[in-house]
Amino acid sequence: MDHIIQHIQGIPLNHYLIFCSIIFAIGVVGVLIRRNVIIIMMSIELMLNSVNLLLAAFSAYRGDASGQVFVFFVMALAAAEVAVGLAIVIMVYRNTKSVDLESLSKLRW
């Protein structure tokens, strides 16, 4: 276990921060510009996992396990979210024959 921590600490914390920010930003941009619902869900997953990575990194640096525990919670939640989200996507596809977000623009004034 110790050598994993040393491995992690071998990379400076700044690199983790920059790397996670980039992945998070890619996720945000993906959500904003893509119109395919499945890709949007993948982008959300990207954001979640960037946060997970950051939590793990901080946890290792500070020698505090609770960050990693939190990661597990996030992963469990993400699994549930994907299950529900994909179910919705399937229902949408059955009704509209499309997974395009624009096909859901009926809920408006």
């Binding site: 904003l32 809920l107 408006r108």
Partner: protein, 637 residues
């Protein structure tokens, strides 16, 4: 027996409730019996109580009895009880209200029998009697005020009894509004009395008032406001125009409310508060001037009116003016005596007019009548007695009461006597004009009306006969000393006016002066009567005057007072309310409210564009929001 005083007003109230609730269910005969019966029982109790008061007076006591029902208001030091006052003045008023009230109830049974609102009519009449009795019996100004308002309400209800005719209902509204002006005066007076004396009970206010100096400013305000109230209720200048219009109501109503009882409430109230008025000479002068002006003006208008009830209405206004003249010159007994005799003969005349109208199939125009004495003998004889009484021809009642007022007026100033005498001449003239146009000469109505002419049923003639007897002998109650009388009424009422008599200059005229005054007024009245009989007794055409003179037109159009009020008050108020309606209501309040509504509609129309259904857009906005919040956090924390 005096403990039963509360039954007197309660019984008519019970009658009102029964007749009012059961007007659709109960048979007409039962309604008539209940309506008249409760008033009859009240009258009998009043008679007994009057006997007791007389016994007390004979025993040399003041004859006042307070019956407290319950404590009504108790705030800090201010206490008010709901209690009744029985004294010589109220016991006499009780007799007038219940006695004449009963006769008029009986009369109404015959008069209103074929009216669909029969039950409603009797319930209103009973309610009126209840409120009038409250007014008379109240031992403080507030109970008097309840009665005062209540009789105004009943007057409104009964004037507008045939409410389907819009003229009648606007006459009712007119009466109500004009009375409200007076009522405001009463309210201000009540507040001023509380502020000055700290109480409203007669028994506390009057002894305290007697300690005040002559011409005190607080008393001046109180009495002026009370007089404003009296001008409204008792139809004096400038608020008298409602009374002639009030003739829109059924004739028994005119007899009961607008001749015998309600309109004399103002005189009763002033006589009750005599000490306040005696100590305010300015108010007394105002009352005198207003009284004599009203008496003359109304008498002058009455000369040319052709509607039989309008003549009597203006005659009532004029006689009320005489009563105020009496009050103004300090003849409280005389004024009240005139209330009493006037109640007899004016109720009689109105009921007689009702009998004539009934016989003529609702024709009220005297030009269409004439020669009715053959067909309506009882009505004719009783109305003749009433006419002679009101004209002031001895030995009928009107002579004695009017003479007492005129003698006191002469004592105050011969000018008042001369003016009063002119008014009395007019009275004799218009009353005999009415009598001759109605009963003498040739019949001028249609053939159909002639065919229907009939004497009224006994329910209508019986009250006429009783009232005729009372009008004939009522004057004996107070025969002046100059004619060898005992001045009984004055003696009987003296405790009520004791405080005043202690302050005021005692009335004194030599017997020879009184004889001269009586002789002049009698000769004048008889002369005018003969003149009127000659002029109108052989009237054949329905057109009375071919070429009306200026004075005739002035009198015929009632001095244009209604038109004057219309121009001075009604039209400006109308214009003002249109301005308020257009500028303030429509232009101000409505626009403000609508602007608020439109602001939200328009802003909603703009903002709803954001909710366009594009999920991407929502997320974009969300991200912008989060970024904004984070920026805010960075900048401020």
């Amino acid at each position: 027996m005096k403990e039963l005083i509360w039954l007197i007003p309660l019984l008519p109230l019970v009658g009102f409730l029964i007749n009012g609730l059961g007007q659709k269910i109960l048979p007409k005969s039962l309604i008539g019996i209940i309506g008249s019966g409760v008033v009859l029982v009240s009258f009998l109790i009043s008679c007994v109580l009057f006997g007791e008061v007389r016994a007390w007076r004979d025993a040399g006591e003041s004859g006042a009895y307070m019956h407290q029902l319950f404590d009504w208001i108790s705030v800090g030091n201010f206490k008010l009880s709901f209690s009744f006052l029985l004294d010589p003045l109220s016991s006499l008023m009780l007799l007038i209200v219940t006695g004449i009230g009963f006769l008029i109830h009986v009369y109404s049974y015959g008069y209103m029998l074929h009216d669909e609102g029969f039950g409603k009519f009797f319930s209103y009449l009973n309610l009126f009697i209840f409120f009038m009795l409250l007014l008379v019996l109240g031992s403080n100004y507030l109970i008097m005020f309840i009665g005062w308002e209540g009789v105004g309400l009943c007057s409104y209800l009964l004037i507008g009894f045939w409410y389907k005719n819009s003229d009648y209902s606007s006459a009712a509204k007119k009466a109500f509004v004009m009375n409200r002006i007076g009522d405001l005066g009463f309210l201000i007076a009540v507040f001023a009395i509380i502020a000055t004396f700290g109480s409203l009970e007669f028994a506390e206010v009057f002894p305290k008032a007697a300690q005040f100096p002559m011409g005190d400013a607080a008393l001046l305000l109180i009495t002026l406001m009370l007089f404003v109230a009296a001008t409204g209720k008792s139809a004096q200048l400038p608020l008298f125009t409602w009374l002639p219009d009030a003739m829109a109501g059924p004739t028994p109503v005119s007899a009961l409310i607008h001749a015998a009882t309600m309109v004399t409430a103002g005189i009763y109230m002033i006589a009750r508060s005599n000490i306040l008025f005696t100590l305010s000479p300015v108010t007394m002068q105002v009352i005198t001037v207003v009284g004599i002006a009203t008496a003359l003006l109304a008498a002058f208008i009455a000369i040319t009116q052709n509607d039989i009830k309008k003549v009597l209405a203006y005659s009532t206004v004029s006689q009320l003016g005489y009563m105020f003249l009496g009050l103004g010159v300090g003849a409280f007994t005389g004024a009240f005596f005139h209330v009493l005799t006037h109640a007899f003969f004016k109720a009689l005349l109105f009921l007689g007019a009702g009998s004539v109208i009934h016989a003529m199939s609702n024709e009220q125009d005297m030009r269409m009548m004439g020669g009715l004495k053959k067909n309506l003998p009882v009505t004719y004889i009783t109305m003749l007695i009433g006419t002679v009484a009101i004209a002031g021809i001895p030995p009928l009642s009107g002579f004695f009461s009017k003479d007492e007022i005129l003698a006191h007026a002469f004592f105050a100033s011969p000018v008042f006597w001369v003016l009063g005498f002119i008014g009395a001449l007019c009275t004799a003239f218009y009353m005999f004009r009415l009598l001759s146009m109605t009963f003498f000469g040739k019949f001028r109505g249609t053939e159909e009306q002639k065919h229907h002419l009939h004497e009224s049923p006994w329910q209508m003639t019986f009250p006429l006969i009783v009232l005729a007897v009372l009008s004939a002998v009522g004057g004996l109650l107070n025969v002046p000393e100059a004619l060898g009388g005992g001045h009984w009424l004055g003696e009987f009422l003296s405790p009520v006016f004791a405080d005043t008599n202690a302050v005021a200059t005692p009335f004194h005229l030599s017997h020879s002066t009184e004889y001269i005054l009586m002789a002049v007024s009698t000769v004048g009245a008889v002369g005018m009567a003969i003149f009127a009989l000659n002029k109108y007794g052989r009237l054949t055409s329905t057109n009375e005057v071919a070429e009306p003179s200026f004075l005739y037109k002035l009198s015929y159009h009632k001095f244009y007072i209604d038109e004057l009020y219309d121009t001075l008050v009604v039209k400006p108020l109308d214009a003002l309310s249109i301005v308020f309606y257009k500028v303030f209501d429509r232009g101000g309040i409505d626009r403000l409210v609508n602007a608020v509504g439109e602001f939200f509609v328009l802003s909603g129309r703009g903002i709803r564009q954001i909710q366009n259904g594009h999920v991407g857009f929502y997320i974009f906005m969300m991200v912008i929001g989060i970024v904004a919040i984070m920026l805010y956090g960075f900048l401020h924390v």
